[in-house]
């Protein structure tokens, strides 16, 4: 293998990892801070992609569609937290798993009823619909680089928000000791609603921004869900920094796995997770 192919595959791995981070970031908020196992995360990713497809076909522009779809996603998050998740904070994880698994079935059925079972694609916005030449016969779509840029921006934004702001401090404190934060006069319920809505919006946003490079089809959230959990577990539950590095590791492992050991490729990511957990049972940055 020559150097250029090595660099191209590394680029592919990093790009894939960044996309995985975006998908997993909402999950690490909800799972890490609220301790809720949200199996519906992948379904919300799918809903985001379908919203992007639907609104893009109405308004003709992906970014306008995203601006219109984000409030819908936030509202969904608020409603799910208020009416469903809130009742389960004190209950065992199994109850949360049951509820959120039920949500998967509901979202899948709704998708089938509202949008049908057809496969769709979302056009890449015109000004990003270019490619850069990597070799004489291989080009790289600019939109994929754009996604990477968006993912890095969100990673930095989330890190600053959680680590450097008063709101982030309350959120972190709430994760450690809910009662103490409440007795200090903070409306912790509102904070939890906010965090859950943000997590939902991030999942849906990942689906929207990825829709031009992933296509839009029924069941697209399911494979993504498992990878998102792998990323969160490798990174350490609740750690943004961990999720970021975990996602890059998973992306590089998946890509290099398919290149170097194609027969082993689908297991490579899980082998990585097993090895990490062997040495760091709580993940890289717990």
């Amino acid at each position: 293998m020559d150097l250029s192919l090595f660099l191209i595959q590394t680029l592919n791995g990093v790009q894939y990892g960044l996309l995985l981070f975006l998908i997993a970031s909402g999950l690490t908020l909800i799972f890490g801070i609220m301790h809720i196992i949200n199996l519906a995360h992948g379904a919300l990713y799918m809903v985001g992609a379908y919203l992007a497809f639907w609104l893009t076909s109405l308004v003709g522009n992906l970014f306008l569609a995203i601006i219109l779809a984000l409030p819908i996603a936030l509202m969904m998050g608020i409603l799910i937290e208020r009416f469903l998740i809130r009742h389960l904070y004190a209950r065992a994880h199994l109850d949360q798993v049951l509820l959120t698994f039920g949500l998967i079935l509901i979202f899948n059925a709704l998708q089938s009823i509202i949008w049908g079972n057809d496969v769709h694609s979302v056009p890449v916005p015109e000004w990003l619909n270019h490619s850069v030449a990597l070799t004489d016969n291989l080009r790289y779509p600019v939109y994929r680089l754009f996604i990477s840029g968006v993912c890095i921006t969100i990673a930095i934004g989330m890190y600053l928000l959680i680590q450097r702001t008063r709101l982030g401090m309350i959120v972190r404190a709430g994760a450690d000791d809910r009662e103490m934060v409440r007795s200090l006069g903070v409306n912790i319920n509102r904070v939890y609603t906010l965090v859950f809505a943000a997590g939902t919006a991030l999942a849906a946003f990942a689906g929207m921004i990825a829709s031009p490079v992933s296509s839009v089809y029924p069941g697209m959230g399911e494979s993504v869900l498992i990878l998102a959990f792998v990323v969160v577990v490798i990174g350490g539950i609740g750690s943004i920094k961990g999720a970021f590095l975990g996602a890059l590791l998973v992306g590089l492992t998946a890509t290099w796995g398919t290149v170097l050991a194609p027969n082993f490729a689908s297991a490579a990511v899980y082998a990585l997770m097993a090895i990490v957990l062997l040495f760091k049972p709580r993940g890289l940055f717990a």
């Binding site: 698994f101 059925a109 009823i113 079972n117 496969v119 990597l134 016969n137 291989l138 296509s215 069941g219």
Partner: protein, 398 residues
């Protein structure tokens, strides 16, 4: 968890079931009316990657039965659906549910080859007349063939083998294959490889992607560095859409032509758009086929369901026709199973939208395979790649 999902989804589908049953009732009063309805069990994907295929097949079956008076051999029809979710781990249970639980007279399923493998194993034991309206794994009418197992679709070998010769005749001598790593992908590649090597070509690498991954960047980079004359691929549904778009976005379509079995561009062209232009495929059908039966079918299907017809709808339609004609031959009597199976074997399809076909000894279609090229967003038939091609039915001793 399973029971919930299945029952919740079969409720969703019950609108259609009720529709068919009501249609049957309107014609009551026939001589055999008191022998009760014929129970047809559909084990198909109604959610997940292949949901659209399950829907098209169901539509086709429904259309064939309704066009023939809404009855089978004079009896009302009751359709029971189970969403198999393309999940092989639940396949045995789902098949049992229809065969032993619902006691269906006919079992029809499915799309995913892994699910169909498990389903066929159960059906062989139980002896219920079984029709595969899609899944193309070779063994169904090969090593696993049985008097009660019929297929109205294709085999992986059948759709891929003719492309080998067609590709070589276009001057491609060194090719790379890329497919999902599951039974159907691997068999398609094997069929293509056989045809291509017999013609004189050489496969320089076989690349596989885990099923159902839709991330292809690493493989595309590998293809670019290998510089083959052309690429043969198997993907379907959402994977096919993404693959063809990524292939074009990487600029590979300008220097390395893309070929495949027809699923790469069937039912997906509207989503693939310009990226699919020029892709060369072999398949037993194209909506563009120039025969009166096909033109009538395509138009009637669109009017009825408000969606474009595709290969899956045709396979469903021919499955329905098989039921109609076999049940007519036995006057709606499903009690004598041997007679029913014999009647099914003898059904011919001179008026199928895909062109005339009949069953082989292994109960698989002997049919034309067409060479198609995507032109202006349509799978245009440019040649017959193989006429009345019979699957070799390896390992079948029937």
């Amino acid at each position: 968890m399973k029971t919930t999902s299945v029952s919740c989804l079969s409720k969703l589908r019950s609108g259609m079931t009720a529709g068919l049953a009501a249609f049957g009732l309107a014609f009551s009063g026939s001589a055999l009316a008191d022998s009760g309805p014929v129970k047809v069990g559909l084990m198909l994907p109604y959610t997940g990657t292949f949901a659209q295929l399950g829907e098209a097949i169901t539509n086709g079956i429904q259309m064939a039965i309704e066009e023939n008076g809404g009855r089978l051999g004079g009896r009302e029809v009751e359709i029971v659906t189970v969403d198999d979710e393309s999940d092989p781990s639940r396949a045995t249970q789902n098949a049992q549910r229809l065969i032993s639980g619902e006691r269906v007279d006919f079992l029809i399923g499915t799309v995913h080859s892994g699910v169909a493998t498990a389903m066929v194993r159960v059906a062989r034991e139980e002896g219920v007349p079984t029709i595969i309206p899609n899944a193309g794994f070779d063994a169904a009418t090969g090593a696993l063939c049985a008097p009660n197992i019929f297929r109205t679709s294709f085999s992986s070998w059948q759709t891929a083998y003719p492309m080998g010769k067609a590709a070589y005749e276009r001057g491609y001598e060194r090719m790379v294959t890329l497919a999902w790593r599951y039974a159907f992908g691997q068999e398609s590649v094997a069929g293509f490889k056989q045809g291509f090597e017999e013609a004189g070509g050489e496969i320089i690498r076989e690349i596989y992607v885990p099923f159902p991954d839709v991330e292809f960047q690493a493989q595309l980079a590998e293809i670019a560095s290998l510089r083959p004359d052309a690429v043969f691929s198997f993907f379907a549904g959402g994977g096919a859409v993404q693959y063809v778009r990524d292939y074009a976005a990487a600029g590979l379509n300008e220097t390395i032509p893309l070929t495949g079995s027809g699923f790469l561009t069937d039912g997906t062209l509207h989503a693939q758009g310009e990226a699919a232009e020029g892709v060369l495929t072999t398949l037993h059908y194209s909506t563009q086929l120039d025969n009166e039966h096909n033109q009538r079918f395509v138009q009637a299907y669109e009017e009825k369901f408000d969606m474009a017809a595709d290969i899956y709808a045709v396979q469903g339609y021919d499955t329905g026709i098989l039921l109609v004609r076999a049940m007519e031959a036995v006057n709606g009597d499903t009690s004598d199973r041997d007679a029913l199976l014999q009647a099914m074997r003898e059904v011919e399809f001179p008026d199928s939208p895909r062109g005339p076909w009949q069953f082989s000894r292994a109960q698989h279609p002997i049919q034309n395979i067409y060479l198609r090229e995507v032109q202006n967003g349509q799978n245009v038939v440019i040649d017959i790649a193989a006429e009345a091609l019979e699957d070799p039915a390896r390992g079948c001793n029937m």
